[in-house]
């Protein structure tokens, strides 16, 4: 019995790392690309900065969202693992 619980816990822990790590990689690359493009565009045409800034923050939220949904899911599994519910 205990070894099954341990097995589920260890696989869950690995899964949490993958969820948060891969999500972070994706979100960081995405925001990095977008930020560099924004700076390029701002340097080229400084008069567009107010318009572009609003769009950039909108996209930051959109890109960040998928990652944060992943973090929320991972946290949920870390503290109230539904896969362990069968054992209690």
């Amino acid at each position: 019995m205990e070894q099954y619980i341990a097995q589920i816990q260890s696989f869950t822990a690995l899964g949490l790392g993958l969820i948060i790590g891969l999500g972070a990689i994706g979100a960081c690359i995405g925001i990095g690309i977008m930020g560099s493009k924004f700076l390029e565009a701002a340097a080229r045409q400084p008069e567009l900065i107010p318009t572009l800034q609003g769009r950039m923050f909108l996209l930051v939220g959109l890109i960040d969202a998928a990652f944060l949904i992943g973090v929320a899911l991972a946290m949920f599994f870390a503290f109230a693992n539904p896969l362990l519910a069968n054992f209690s």
């Binding site: 909108l58 939220g61 969202a65 944060l68 949904i69 973090v71 929320a72 946290m75 503290f79 109230a80």
Partner: protein, 271 residues
């Protein structure tokens, strides 16, 4: 229970994730979520109403100037993408923005304060952030879906909307009607799901990080070195995350509003 030392960190967090609920199964009512969201809705209406009662064409007060700024900001957002009569969509976008912002802002209250107040009334569970409950966000996004469908009917008529549903991406060949229809339904249904999950995921993750930070100080055992260190860690990290969270709550309210506008604008455009 608020005010008492938590027995273990897992217990502390699962306790804080428990809703104050009434009922069983499908008919479970999250009283805390409903109370807080309705209260904040009334507050946001009253705040803006008080500004409009006292509005003058002379020198505006600080509050009136702020409200005018917010209204103008939202109206400009709507004007940019939505080209029909915006007497319905602009107020809707405004109230979505203000309401979601206020509900998100409940995240910035001290973590144990709502529970402490609720426990004075004999309630042991009280989650104060309504948008960290998937029920709230899905209710809002399904309402947005209804608004989008309403705009589709209004702009194209029942015939035009039905025509678009079966012919939109690929073409009018009868063989393609079913794939077109399936694709359109998926597109229509993915909007509220992504809208709701985005807001819920952000707020839920934010709330959980606040709880994890709060655990640092929960190890307090007198004025020892390690206790003081973790206490200082809680204060510093809590402050840093709260400041970052001000950006997130505003951003998520803004995104919810902008996407409502964009979806409505997409619905009114003919293919």
């Amino acid at each position: 229970m608020a005010g008492q030392a938590p027995e273990s960190s897992t217990e502390y967090i699962t306790h804080h994730l428990e809703h104050f609920k009434v009922g069983e199964g499908f008919w479970t009512w999250h009283i805390d979520t409903m109370f807080m969201s309705i209260l904040l809705g009334i507050v946001s209406i009253l705040l803006f109403w008080s500004a409009s009662r006292k509005a003058t064409s002379g020198v505006p007060g600080k509050w009136q100037a702020f409200v005018e700024m917010v209204v103008e900001f939202v109206d400009n957002q709507v004007k940019e993408v939505f080209h029909l009569d915006r007497s319905f969509l602009a107020p809707l976008a405004l109230i979505i923005f203000v309401w979601v912002f206020l509900m998100n802002a409940m995240d910035l209250l001290p973590l144990d304060l709502p529970g402490l107040i609720a426990s004075q009334f004999g309630i042991h569970y009280w989650r104060v952030v309504p948008t960290a409950d998937a029920n709230t966000t899905f209710a809002m996004s399904i309402t947005v879906l209804i608004v989008v469908i309403y705009f589709s009917f209004k702009a194209k008529g029942a015939g035009g909307f039905a025509h678009e549903l079966v012919t939109a991406p690929f073409g009018a060949n009868p063989l393609l009607w079913i794939p077109n229809f399936v694709l359109n339904i998926v597109e229509l249904l993915s909007k509220p799901v992504s809208l709701a999950m985005r807001l819920f995921g952000n707020m839920y993750a934010g709330e959980l990080v606040f709880m994890l930070i709060a655990l640092l100080g929960a190890t307090w055992a007198g004025f020892t070195f390690s206790s003081s260190l973790s206490m200082a860690g809680q204060v510093i990290m809590g402050a840093a995350w709260a400041i970052f969270h001000i950006l997130i709550i505003t951003l998520q309210a803004f995104i919810f509003m902008v996407l409502t506008i964009v979806y409505s604008a997409m619905a009114t455009e003919a293919h």
